[in-house]
């Protein structure tokens, strides 16, 4: 079948998609966007977290056909050409990246959290990221990264700057 959707702002078509494929498979293997990860493929780990029409989903649980006509944003769509997103830079600066396999999903989930709750308390951060497994960090530096990103976004908003940060 053919799947037509918008991915990271670009109209996109995938042809010869087998009906049993997930959105995750189409993104990774047909559209050249392997940033969303394949750690469990049953919705338990959050490594494939993407936006589907501005709502967080596990791309592994979305059938390819369900993406028809929808707007999808992946981790690849967060940075601009010349700057990382504030959340991405904060993950690097806080030491929240080790092996990095969980990182794309956590970054998308963090972006969603901070868009809803600009200055979350720790308990809110933990609740929002409870669906994203990380095996390397013990989450402490992920909490640091979220706090850092929240602080930087708030500061940028207060001074009227765009949300990106120079690489």
């Amino acid at each position: 079948m053919r799947v037509t959707c918008t991915v990271n702002g670009a109209p996109t078509v995938a042809d010869d998609v087998w009906e049993g494929e997930s959105l995750l498979f189409v993104l990774r293997e047909r559209l050249g966007l392997p940033g969303s990860k394949n750690a469990c493929e049953q919705g338990e780990c959050g490594s494939c977290t993407v936006y589907l029409d501005d709502r967080l989903v596990c791309a592994c649980l979305v059938a390819a056909g369900q993406a028809e006509g929808r707007d999808i944003r992946t981790v690849e769509g967060l940075a601009t050409a010349d700057a990382l997103d504030t959340v991405q830079q904060a993950y690097i600066d806080a030491g929240a990246v080790q092996c990095g396999f969980c990182t794309p999903g956590l970054i998308v989930a963090t972006d969603d959290l901070l868009r809803r709750v600009p200055e979350p308390a720790d308990a809110e951060i933990r609740e929002a990221l409870a669906g994203n497994l990380c095996r390397c960090t013990g989450y402490e530096k992920i909490l640091d990264a979220v706090r850092l990103a929240a602080g930087r976004r708030s500061a940028a908003a207060a001074s009227g700057e765009p949300k990106g940060s120079a690489r």
Partner: protein
């Protein structure tokens, strides 16, 4: 518009695997050098600095090429048929129906393995593909290559295997009895390690004995086993794979393919965590066989369920301990028997048993030791390396014993430990002298004296003055927002634990690493290129390698080449050894480059070589200051040195007494755990964990603390939730739905206190970091739950039933 119109697989991605790998590994480790980098700027990014990861940007943008992300336009997908029984004879394998499925390119069985049919880290006992018998559920029987992963899966399902099902051997202790069925022809004992020290008949005022059990823990790395095998024009193969040790893979793959090693070239693809589970082969030989047979690139990616069958696990163990002490608490003797269930194949069980035995009394001075550790074959899932490697099981037992001894003696548990603490100058049960810092007592004091978290429910806020009216925050209570308690039945407990780990490979193993370091001027600026085969698995080795090069050569810009087999072996990224051993090799190669350069400068400028140093991209003299820019000295020349570096040798242990200086370095961490337990429902909320660890030298404090956090969290998982449940040899929970690893809600705030007591034998004085924090967080948490409940809790993970007594 992005478009794709190919039959599967047909992504529109332009990049080949090689391009992706280059992106993963070739990124310069720093920004382009400024014109006049100062000494202080270098120091900021050299050894001891919290330099950021060079691969961080690629990892946060999704561009980093993990082994499961690789892609080539004409590639096939591999899949594996796995045994559905833990023990069975194979009567027949019929692939005819599977071969008729459109899109299937090849199906291979044991008859198609051209070279050695078996592989193994220490013992060649595991079939590449099972021939006549399967010895565990999930053993590989056949492999398929097809044009789409679903086609490959359907072909696997269409292969018909005739089995004569046999009764599996599932109890490690029973497997050692003479009348037991044999898993392998030579019997079920993989190794028996004996430690005999002092008087075996010593008696003591107080005797405490107990038996303990540790469940089977999974490494549960997030990036599944995967890789891409590409057939080469010379008849060889190029394999891009996530592994912990490229060269040991290369040797095993070449033997089974029947190819010389130089025809089997490995490049490290992005590794999504390891923790020991990538030491043994998984899909490597299979993908290469399929690629060579079909003449096309073959990609294999395990699903999460298959991953549970695709790698070895932490040995489940049963441990019997007896501690004897004088009435003042001084340890007199320890007698112990440890049974480690190695499952169907040996993997690294021999070394795991040696660790359990040689480190089995913990970081304590014990004059009389009788220790027997057995690694045993069964038809359970194979077990091998996991972070902590044999010391985790022993630590749960000996620390539980120390707590029980303290209780019996009426002593504070920390005080009892301090009274018996190992220290520099102590002798191990193996007779080995502890010849560098062993701050066991100090680490214990530090976690004991750290500030305690606020009492349960003690929060600030407008209603804090009226404690009886406060609504508790459910998120801080056991059970969380499941709303299982508002504080009733919740009891707080505090527990302590400390562990000991060997760093590096032991027992006389030739444990070396190789580094190639190149210095040249590029566009008028000095650039260092570091090339090793050492596996970056997330721990940050690429960062530390670049830091070492900056410090040793005074150059800001460092490029870390992708790890591959075109340079000598680096040994394994395991045993907390890589910063020590590959770090040592990189430093040694840098020193060789520096000497070659300074020799040239000394001759050219007529100065003494001894008074020259490199700093800020310049050659400086202690007497005359800056002499010349590095780039100017180099011109178009390249200085390159390759060095193989070894730590000081270790010795085998005596097979009868276990005596011998088997280990190169010891490492220690201590934990204090604070928990709240819902004693009615058996639910545990870990409130806080404090860790103190001696690291010798903090090479990169940011990354180091991250290692301590992560290791501590894995120990929390073993204490409270993680177990592969095996019944009759069958795995009952191979998924992240049923095998639970800690989430961000399960892991509490973790305080880390780092000591830096230099080890004079090690590069920069460093001490291996990765494993110690995993070892003692488990017993500390269990001790805290015991303190809250009064339950004996002799098995991990603790189940709610164990607490609630249902």
């Amino acid at each position: 518009m992005t478009s794709s119109s190919r039959t599967p697989p047909g992504p529109a991605r332009a990049g080949l695997a090689r391009a992706g790998l280059a992106r993963a590994g070739l990124a310069p480790a720093g920004p382009a050098p400024a014109g006049h980098a100062s000494v202080s700027e270098q120091a900021d990014r050299g050894v001891g600095a919290s330099t950021l990861r060079p691969d961080g940007t690629l990892k946060v943008t999704g561009e980093f090429a993990f082994s499961s992300d690789l892609w080539m336009s004409d590639m096939l997908w591999g899949a594996t048929l796995r045994a559905s029984h833990p023990r069975a004879r194979i009567r027949s394998v019929d692939v005819s129906a599977a071969l008729r499925i459109p899109g299937v390119a090849a199906i291979l069985t044991h008859e198609d393995v051209p070279g050695r049919g078996r592989f193994g880290m220490e013992v060649l006992d595991q079939p590449v593909l099972a021939a006549t018998e399967v010895r565990y559920q999930g053993e590989a029987v056949a492999v398929v290559a097809a044009d789409h992963p679903e086609t490959a899966r359907r072909a696997v399902a269409a292969i018909e295997v005739g089995y004569d099902v046999l009764t599996p051997v599932t109890d490690a202790e029973a497997a050692l009895r003479p009348d037991s069925v044999r898993v392998h022809p030579d019997g079920n004992l993989v190794r028996h390690v004996r430690i005999r020290r002092g008087d075996p008949g010593a008696s003591a005022d107080v005797v405490v004995s107990g038996s303990y059990q540790v469940g089977m823990q999974d490494q549960a790395f997030l990036g599944p086993e995967s890789g891409l095998a590409v057939p080469a024009e010379d008849g060889g193969i190029d394999l891009y794979v996530a592994t912990q040790w490229l060269h040991v893979d290369q040797a095993q793959i070449a033997a089974s393919l029947g190819l010389p090693e130089d025809k089997v070239r490995l490049t490290l693809a992005g590794v999504g965590g390891a923790f020991g589970a990538r030491e043994d082969l998984s899909m490597q030989i299979h993908a290469c066989l399929l690629a060579l047979r079909t003449g096309r690139p073959v990609k294999m990616v395990y699903s999460r369920e298959e991953s549970f069958f695709g790698h070895v696990h932490r040995h489940p163990a049963t441990l019997y301990y007896e501690h004897g002490a004088a009435s003042d608490g001084t340890l007199v003797y320890v007698t112990a028997r440890i049974y480690l269930d190695g499952g169907a194949y040996a993997s690294s069980s021999r070394a795991v048993a040696a660790n359990a035995a040689t480190l089995g009394v913990g970081p304590y001075q014990v004059p009389n030791v009788t220790m027997d550790a057995y690694a045993v074959y069964t038809n359970n899932p194979p077990c091998g390396a996991m972070r902590g490697f044999g010391t985790v099981q022993a630590c749960f037992a000996y620390e539980s014993q120390m707590d029980e001894l303290a209780r019996r003696l009426g002593l504070d548990p920390v005080e009892l430990r301090i009274r018996n603490a190992l220290r520099e100058g102590s002798t191990m049960p193996t007779g080995q002298l502890v010849d560098s810092a062993a701050p066991v007592a100090e680490l214990l004091r530090r976690v004991r004296d750290a500030p305690m978290p606020p009492d349960q429910g003690a929060r600030s806020g407008p209603d804090a003055r009226e404690p009886d009216l406060r609504e508790p925050d459910l998120r801080e209570l056991p059970g969380g927002v499941s709303n299982t308690t508002h504080g009733e039945g919740v009891v707080r407990g505090v527990g302590y634990g400390i562990g000991i780990k060997n760093v590096g490979f032991s027992e006389g193993f030739d444990d070396y690493s190789t580094a190639r370091v190149r210095l040249e001027a590029v566009a008028g600026q000095p650039v260092v290129t570091v090339h090793t085969a050492a596996a970056e698995v997330g721990q940050g080795l690429v960062t530390v390698q670049a830091q070492i090069a900056r410090t040793e050569l005074g150059v800001e810009r460092v490029v870390i080449r992708p790890a591959d087999t075109s340079v000598g072996s680096a040994g394994s990224s395991s045993a907390s050894r890589q910063t020590y051993v590959t770090g040592g090799a990189v430093r040694a190669a840098c020193v060789a480059v520096r000497q070659a350069l300074l020799r040239r400068v000394a001759g050219r400028y007529g100065v003494q070589q001894e008074e020259l140093a490199l700093s800020g991209g310049k050659v400086e003299s202690t007497s005359a200051g800056v002499i010349v820019d590095l780039a100017a000295v180099l011109g178009d020349d390249v200085i390159e040195e390759t060095v193989t570096w070894r730590h000081r040798p270790t010795q085998p242990i005596d097979p009868d007494t276990g005596q011998g200086s088997a280990h190169v370095q010891y490492a220690f961490a201590a934990h204090r755990a604070v928990v709240d337990v819902d004693t009615e429902l058996g639910l545990v909320k870990v409130v806080e964990i404090t860790t103190a660890q001696d690291v010798g030298k903090a090479m990169n404090p940011l990354a180091l603390v991250g290692q301590i956090h992560g290791g501590t969290a894995q120990g929390l998982g073993l204490a409270l939730m993680e177990e592969i449940q095996v019944s009759g040899g069958m795995v009952r929970n191979p998924s992240f739905t049923d095998y639970l690893i800690p989430t961000i809600l399960d892991v509490p705030p973790m305080n880390v206190d780092v000591l830096e007591l230099a080890d004079p034998h090690a590069p920069y004085g460093l001490r291996g970091v990765g494993e110690p924090p995993t070892i003692s967080s488990t017993p500390a948490i269990v001790a805290a739950v015991r303190a809250a409940t009064g339950k004996a809790l002799r098995r991990v993970p603790i189940r709610p039933d164990d607490i609630a007594g249902l």
